[in-house]
Amino acid sequence: MEIITLLWNWVLVNPMANALVLLNNAFFGSYGLAIIIFTVVMRGVTFPLTLRQLRSSRAMSAMSGRLQEIQKKYKDPKRRQEETMKIYREAGVNPLGCLLPMVAQLPIWFALYSVLRLTVGDVPESTISLSQHLYPWSFIQHAVPLSNKFVGLNLGQPNVVLAILTGATMFVQQKMTTPPALDEKSASMNSTMLWMMPLMFTYFAISFPSGLALYWVISSVVGIVLQYVYVGSGGLTWRNLFSLQPAPAPKSAASQVKPATEKIEPDEDEEDEETEAGEAVADERRYRKRSRRGKRRRKR
């Protein structure tokens, strides 16, 4: 465990802690500003992973119509699973594809969380801990203590307004990213997760220094913007914003409810994972064309 902790500190926590202190020095000794810049920079650094995750989730979303149709059509769970897997294969989408980039980002977020707890802590023990993480460079070491004041906030103390903002931004982000449910069971789970996660983080934000809440708010806002730019609103509108149910599937996805029994011949050169989303959409277009052709033939 000691080796893991050493590695953890050496690779992630120490560089992050020192970078934050450096940003604090660069931005007029404002630690709040340093947290904001650092959060945005970190989201930028992990952007390729986030983009991959967003693309995967967009591809999954594009297929949601067909998946729902399979759920309705096949009662036998084995057959249902076979058909579902077939659709995934046809679209070249790995159902776990959107999880892997998220997992890869986890250590970074945990380390950042640990660093923020160390640096905004208003407690003597946290200052002692911080000393064990700072590089022995005078311009870093002399920056301590970091100023806790930021636009009327004490970043070392919990703040109710920031705690509420944490929950609210997380709720919006959850609402945009929660995929449409395929059955009642997953719908119920999605609905619970939608309010439980923001509620939990609101509680954390009330209990922890508000510097952490500031990080969570900025991180969620950046997440919302990225989600909106690359995937869209996910069916979120002003009308359903305050509903505790996940946002309905966007029309583009909902209109793609098609039987999945017809065989689709995908191209050989569609295996590039980077274009999963594009493939899924192109696949759907081809599928619709063929379906229309089939209908015309049957009419004739």
Binding site: S114, G121, D122, I128
Partner: protein, 375 residues
């Protein structure tokens, strides 16, 4: 994209299902390990108040959240503050309590300074500051001085709690215990400065406060007209007590938070990386061949008994060193980490551990004995 035949498809499905379960389980454990590792950085105020021994009683802070008065001869607890039915929460106790005129002065992390009757622990008066109190109070000529994280130093009459002069405010929180000598109060602030103010009027005594390179959290010590104070810039400073001019400074390898100990012409102190130094009080030169390397953080001030220098670390290592050479004489293990100052009483060295135990160590051989604090 290649299609999989029906049998292969089922196998693939089973494999995918297993892979998903394995990945899910792996994710869970990875998250747990990461969370636990990340949470090692979580800190809440725990306290490190040192014990105080008066005649036949011991003032100790069990769990650093309350103060207990223990009759050492009868091995019984006289009183506890706050009492069990009280709604007062001290949060944590860092500063060593001060005793004078039958009163115990106690600064809580909740920002309140309490004056308790030593006989029964009842509250005589209390004064609230706008910040946490981390440094301890110090009493001189009927006045108690205490610094607060609200950046100000306060002075109150010991008997009544009346304010002696307007709080003297600095640019950052004050985490150190003040030192009083010859009518002057010396204290350090996290604004990187060391101040000297008149003990009666509260007016600045130096033309300008001494400015260090980094924040100053350690308690100043005044000896023979010199103020010794360590900083979070790795330096131990020796200042002229009359005007604040620097006489010398010695660079350690890490932050200095421990209170300096001046004895036999040497200044002893430890750093947060665990190095212990013995420096000449006049010249600021290291008296030993090399600093002593202890295992763990040295936060608490050391103690000297005879020719033995005793230091303790946050990992619970207690060392006895030859004060003249810095070589190790013995080492012992405390029940848990030590961040409190070491206190000498009756030839024994007392300290409190992180878990709130009070222990004493024999400076002759390093034998550690726990001092029971009865419930």
């Amino acid at each position: 994209m290649k299609h999989v035949a029906s049998g292969d498809c089922r196998r693939s499905k089973i494999q995918t299902s297993r892979a998903a379960k394995a990945l899910g389980l792996g994710l869970f454990f990875l998250s747990l390990v990461l969370l636990l590792t990340a949470c090692r950085g979580i800190t809440s105020p725990k306290g490190w108040a040192s014990p105080v021994i008066t005649d036949s009683t011991l003032l100790a802070a069990p769990n650093h959240q309350s103060l207990a008065d223990v009759d050492l001869q009868a091995n019984s607890r006289n009183w506890t503050f706050p009492p069990s039915k009280s709604n007062i929460s001290l949060t944590a106790l860092y500063g060593t309590p001060a005793v004078s005129q039958g009163l115990v002065l106690l600064g809580g992390y909740n920002g309140t300074l309490y004056a308790l009757n030593l006989s029964d622990g009842s509250e005589k008066w209390s004064q609230v500051t706008a910040g946490h109190i981390v440094g301890g109070p110090v009493i001189s000529d009927g006045t108690v001085y205490v610094g607060s994280a609200d950046r100000c130093l306060y002075a109150f009459a010991v008997d009544s709690g009346d304010q002696r002069f307007n709080p003297f405010c600095t640019g950052e929180k004050i985490w150190s215990t003040p030192a009083v000598s010859n009518g002057v109060v010396y204290f350090s602030s996290m604004d990187k400065k060391v101040y000297a103010i008149d003990a009666t009027t509260g007016e600045a005594r130096w033309s300008q406060a001494f400015k260090a390179d980094g924040a100053v959290a350690s308690t100043p010590v005044v000896d023979s007209g010199t103020v010794y104070v360590g900083g979070l810039d790795n330096y131990m400073y020796a200042l002229d007590a009359s005007n604040g001019q620097m006489r010398w400074r010695y660079k350690a390898d890490d932050w200095i938070w421990s209170r300096a100990l001046v004895s036999g012409g040497s200044v002893y102190f430890g750093s947060l990386s665990g190095k212990v130094y013995g420096v000449d009080a006049t010249s600021g030169q290291l008296r030993w061949d090399k600093p002593f390397s202890a295992k763990g953080v040295v936060r608490g001030g050391p103690a000297v008994v005879g020719s033995t220098l005793i230091v303790a670390t946050d990992q619970g290592n207690v060392y006895g060193l030859d004060a003249s050479t810095g070589s190790q004489v013995w080492s012992s293990k405390a029940s848990s980490g030590v961040l409190s100052d070491l206190v000498v009483n009756g030839g024994m060295v007392y300290y409190s551990t992180k878990s709130g135990d009070v222990q004493k160590v024999d400076p002759a051989n390093g034998t550690i004995t726990s001092v029971q604090v009865p419930q």
